[in-house]
């Protein structure tokens, strides 16, 4: 049982490049989330999904897109990276919603946009 895994662990992009971050969970969780964490800041929710085939916007969705084609995977896409997207990205999943179920976080992806 690997829990929540994220790929890649670290990436450097040039402004304007695109990339996809992959989150995978093997706990059969319905809910999945993408957060970003910036220095001196708490986590901020980018997008989330309450089940396969569903996605919704969080607090800071601009510049990102997501897809949940399979229950176990939640992809975060940056179509045209900007320096302001330099951050650590965390994926999380939970069996039930936040109040009823524990959120399990992945180890994070460090993204540097030059």
């Amino acid at each position: 049982n690997a829990g929540v895994t994220q790929t890649p662990k670290f990436r450097v992009l040039k402004t304007g490049q695109s990339m996809t971050l992959l989150c995978a969970q093997d706990m059969n969780h319905e809910y999945m989330y993408w957060y970003r964490q910036d220095p001196g800041m708490g986590l901020r929710l980018i997008h989330y999904s309450v089940g396969e085939g569903t996605t919704a916007k969080g607090e800071v969705p601009d510049g990102y897109n997501v897809s949940r084609l399979k229950k176990q995977n939640f992809l975060l896409g940056l179509e045209s990276a900007a320096p302001s997207q330099t951050s650590v990205y965390f994926c999380a999943s939970s069996y039930l919603d936040i109040v009823q179920g524990t959120q399990y976080f992945g180890p994070g992806t460090r993204l540097l946009v030059l």
Binding site: G40, L43, V50, F90, T102
Partner: protein, 113 residues
């Protein structure tokens, strides 16, 4: 607009002492208040959580105190240990089409021997 204010930003406590981290919120729609612990290079992990219908919750050495009228809640770590050295985040949950957490900025705790 930050909706959850956390203090202090950093905290140094002697081994065996009590660590206290405070959070305040403004939005009365918040209905669930978790605390997360994060070690360097790792993702956050849920530590303890409380609902506003209780004033205190204790799990081992960790206690949440909740003051609904003051819109404040705090984390107390009793008998602090070097292994507790981490960054702690408070958060507050509200319904916005789905439950969503708003996080405080974090407190870096260092427990020195």
């Amino acid at each position: 607009q930050q909706q959850v204010k956390q203090s202090p930003q950093s905290l140094i406590v002697q081994k065996g002492g009590i660590s206290i981290i405070n959070c305040a919120y403004e939005n009365t729609a918040f209905d669930y208040f978790p605390w997360y612990q994060q070690f360097p290079g790792k993702g956050p992990a849920l530590l303890i959580a409380i609902r506003p219908d209780v004033s205190e919750k204790k799990e081992g050495r960790f206690t949440i105190s909740f003051n609904k009228s003051a819109k404040q809640f705090s984390l107390h770590i009793m008998d602090s240990q070097p292994g507790d050295s981490a960054t702690y985040f408070c958060a507050a949950n509200r319904w916005a089409g789905s439950y969503q957490l708003t996080f405080g900025k974090g407190t870096k705790l260092s427990v020195i021997p």
